[in-house]
């Protein structure tokens, strides 16, 4: 049986309306960020932010799950910024975020990873 919330929401709310609607992230904001990402981004189809709302949600879920693993290792129950940073460093596909998280974290391990990345 299909999940009622997501798919029936699509038919009932009609997708793009500027409100969050059935999507967990506001489409207008997603579109704004997309436009700000580069000079070349001139036109964005209506469905692109919708696809992104799903992808972003999955990204946040994955990074959160991985951060939580680090939190548990430290026998804590509050996810800290360093847990997120550790999760980023430990996951290959999140390499593009290493400089972003190391800016706010002074861990030696992260600096070493950055140097390694630069070398290769």
């Amino acid at each position: 049986m299909r999940q009622p919330g997501r798919y029936s929401g699509l038919t009932m709310c009609g997708g793009i309306s500027g409100r969050t609607g059935p999507h967990s992230l506001p489409l207008a904001r997603i579109k704004k960020i997309m436009k700000n990402s580069g000079e070349d981004v001139k036109m964005i189809s209506g469905e692109a932010p919708i696809v992104f709302s799903k992808a972003c949600e999955m990204f946040i879920e994955e990074l959160t799950r991985r951060s939580w693993m680090t939190t548990l290792e430290g026998k804590r129950r509050t996810v800290h910024k360093d847990d997120v940073a550790s999760a980023v460093v430990a996951t290959g596909i999140f390499d593009f975020l290493v400089s972003l998280v190391s800016g706010s974290c002074c861990s030696e391990d992260i600096t070493l990873v950055e140097i390694e990345t630069l070398k290769s």
Binding site: N36, K54, A55
Partner: protein, 144 residues
């Protein structure tokens, strides 16, 4: 309190809610962790958009569409996101088609002047059995 910097990022409330939903009920999230996640998610958006935009540019296309995003996700190593996003995109397109067809049903006299695509949708809505098949498991149709 509107922070201009915040305006260029995904809203922290939404980000926090997604994080909370995935964690156990008693887990807590520090404000800084939410902020870091907010920055990471925004960067993710820009990163993937850049890749999709590059592809469009190379192919002399001006509009970044849903398929471009799915392609970029896959190209950057986010295969599982790409697959789920494709399914989501197809569901969205299906819903939009149904919605458009439902609207067309009310304007039957305009169908002829709008061209082939509208006529096709008109046929789909008037044949309930066909519509039911469409909403079923599409994998049966695509398998050889």
């Amino acid at each position: 309190m509107v922070d201009q910097e915040q305006d260029g990022m995904l809203p922290i409330a939404n980000v926090g809610r997604i994080m909370k939903q995935i964690l156990p009920p008693r887990a807590k999230i520090s404000k800084e962790a939410k902020q870091t996640m907010q920055e990471c998610a925004t960067e993710f958006l820009s990163f993937v958009t850049g890749e999709a935009s590059d592809k469009c540019h190379k192919e002399n296309r001006k509009t970044v569409n849903g398929d471009d995003i799915c392609w970029a996700l896959s190209a950057l190593g986010f295969d599982n996101y790409a697959q789920a996003a494709m399914r989501y995109l197809h569901k969205y397109r299906e819903a939009e088609r149904d919605k458009a067809a439902a609207n067309n049903n009310q304007n039957t006299e305009n169908i002829a002047s709008h061209g082939g695509l509208q006529v096709k949708e008109q046929i789909q809505t008037s044949n309930l059995e066909f519509r039911a098949l469409e909403k079923g498991d599409n994998s049966l149709i695509t398998k050889p």
